[in-house]
Amino acid sequence: MSLRRIGTVLLWCYVVTVFAFIMAPIATSFIVSFNFDRFPTLPLGAFSLRWYQDIAQDPMLPPAFRNTIIVGFTVSVIATTLGFAAAYTDYRYRFAGKQVYLALALLPPTIPVVILGLAMLIFLTKIGLFGTLKAIIISHIVVCLPFAMALIRLRLSQMDQSLEAAAWNLGATEWRAMRDVILPFTLPAILAALFITMAVSFDEYAIAWFVSGFQETLPVRILAMFQGQVSPRINAIGSIVFTITMTLVILAQAILLLRRPARAPD
């Protein structure tokens, strides 16, 4: 075996190991969720859907799931709309303090969630929204907006600078150009932003935990369940949540990859 070949093999081993480390806990959780036994041991016990049936009967889970869905949809639509507006402002206009504007818009994900959560808790309590779905929605919009903005901004940066002006030049008003040129061009990024923000909101528990009160979202409920007792039900819920989140993320990726940016003008 040549040295080069050994190198390739080692590299492959490394890659497989890395992915094994990342995926092993999730895969374990998946497998164990179908295991009949209360405490997972090797060899595994009989195949069973008992934990899934168990969570289906938990009275606390359906409202939490419903909350998560409501929050997820609302947040994705509002955050994407605002994200588009912010990205377009950046694309179209030159103004004093633009760097500050951009920095502020992209700031939230860099703030530790505990601090953001606490700040949200204090603020939302003051304005009387603590413990409502609105509180969770507002908090999640803050967290999700930068993701939407970043995606749409990236797409706009791939757009020929003269495309919008070309539309005006051909008789399109600013609104018409927005509808007939800018929106169709950024559509892949908008769809991707909808899915990604929904996934982020779906996954977010720390801030939701701070501000939700009794209006628990699914991740918050899971956390509560986990704190009380270690039940294999966790594995079942984890598998469901993981599947939903990954589906959203993969959908977003697929949209971005399938609709490749148009060939740059030369």
């Binding site: 020929d160 600078q161 002006a165 070309a166 539309a167 005006w168 030049n169 051909l170 008003t173 169709p184």
Partner: protein, 359 residues
């Protein structure tokens, strides 16, 4: 008397401290093919954008058919443009691109399809109507851009270096096509380019801009043969320019003292003692003994030669000054031309002229 179609009066555009267009005056007649030419940053594109309404003039006037349009929004003018990048809408088919202007004007779907197809046929790309614009060749994209701009049947077409992205052989074909289109349509073409070959090949009038100002306007031949300023002389054609001063003027002929000795040129409005630039076109320079007239001759050293197809440019040097001679290849015998050998270049007094040095 042709109608004054487009008038720019004392038109100025400043971006902060920088002046892009510096109070220019220009009148364009209906049906003219005008080319604005100049180096990048000379203000030619800004001028075009002000006509299209994409920039608002700082001061001065843009008038179309006598109507002041300085502040008219771009979508309310009918001044379609062919962009340097072409700016085709990448998510639309060829047909949809061409239909766009009609759609914005509220033309019915059937009617705009009919008119767009007419233009696609005229541009010889009807077969590509449903093709995605990203899957077109450079020449095809060019045609789509032209059809898209012309489909509303405007009275003026603005072109912003539309051929700069094309291969050389395609440029020549598209030039012929543009000339044909201009002749057939009889509308005004306002063409911005940095390429003198494009401007000279197509335009009935050439406008040379530099640093936001118009240096010279006139028919291509006139601008080429008698540049009005040193900038134009350097920018168009291949001119040899020498600094000098007028020694004497008699019977329309001036004797000028230059670093290469006393040379003669046509005298127009110059007086003895005046500082001038002595200009002689490289294509009017000959090898001594080949041309008949040799009122001026300079001994120099051949440096190199450069082929442009059928035309050869010979670079020579005398007293540290570069001289250029441009000849058709068959006019030069290869034997006499070898780098490092002495040459004698000559030209008639009639082919040289003087430009007053601005002081």
């Amino acid at each position: 008397m042709p109608e004054q179609f487009l008038t720019l009066r004392q038109l100025e555009k400043r971006f902060g401290e920088a002046t892009a267009v510096d109070r220019i005056d220009l009148t364009v007649d209906k049906g003219e093919f005008v080319a604005i030419m100049g180096p990048s940053g000379c203000g030619k594109t800004t001028t075009l954008r002000m006509i299209a309404g994409l920039e608002t003039p700082t001061s001065g006037e843009v008038r179309l058919r006598g109507r002041l349009i300085n502040e008219v929004k771009p979508w309310l003018r009918d001044t379609p443009m062919v962009w340097q990048s072409l700016a085709l809408f990448p998510f639309m088919s060829v047909l949809k691109n061409v239909e766009f202007g009609l759609k914005m004007r509220g033309v019915s779907a059937a009617e705009r399809r009919r008119r767009a197809m007419q233009w696609l046929e005229r541009m010889d790309i009807a077969a590509l109507a449903n093709r995605d614009v990203s899957r077109l060749s450079g020449g095809q994209r060019q045609r789509v851009a032209l059809a898209r701009a012309l489909v509303t049947e405007p009275e003026i077409l603005l072109l912003d270096e539309p051929l700069s992205a094309l291969d050389a052989h395609l440029v020549v074909r598209m030039q012929a096509e543009l000339i044909r289109l201009h002749r057939e349509l009889g509308i005004t073409f306002f063409y911005v380019t940095h390429s003198q070959s494009e401007a000279f090949a197509m335009a009935s009038r050439v406008v040379i801009m530099n640093q936001g100002r118009i240096e010279q306007t006139g028919p291509a031949r006139q601008v080429y043969r008698t540049p009005a300023t040193r900038f134009v002389a350097e920018f168009v054609g291949t001119n040899n320019i020498l600094r000098g001063s007028v020694v004497s003027v008699e019977s329309g002929c001036a004797r000028v003292s230059t670093p290469l000795g006393l040379l003669t040129a046509v005298a127009l409005n110059v007086h003895p003692g005046e500082a001038v630039d002595y200009v002689v076109g490289a294509d009017t320079v000959s090898l001594a003994g080949v041309g008949a007239s040799a009122e001026n001759s300079v001994r120099c050293m051949m440096v190199s030669e450069q082929f442009f197809g059928s035309v050869v440019t010979v670079y020579a040097e005398a007293e540290g000054i570069e001289l250029r001679m441009q000849k058709r290849q068959h006019e030069l015998s290869a034997a006499a031309l070898e780098p490092g050998r002495p040459l004698e270049l000559c030209w008639s007094a009639q082919s040289a002229f003087l430009l007053r040095t601005k002081s």
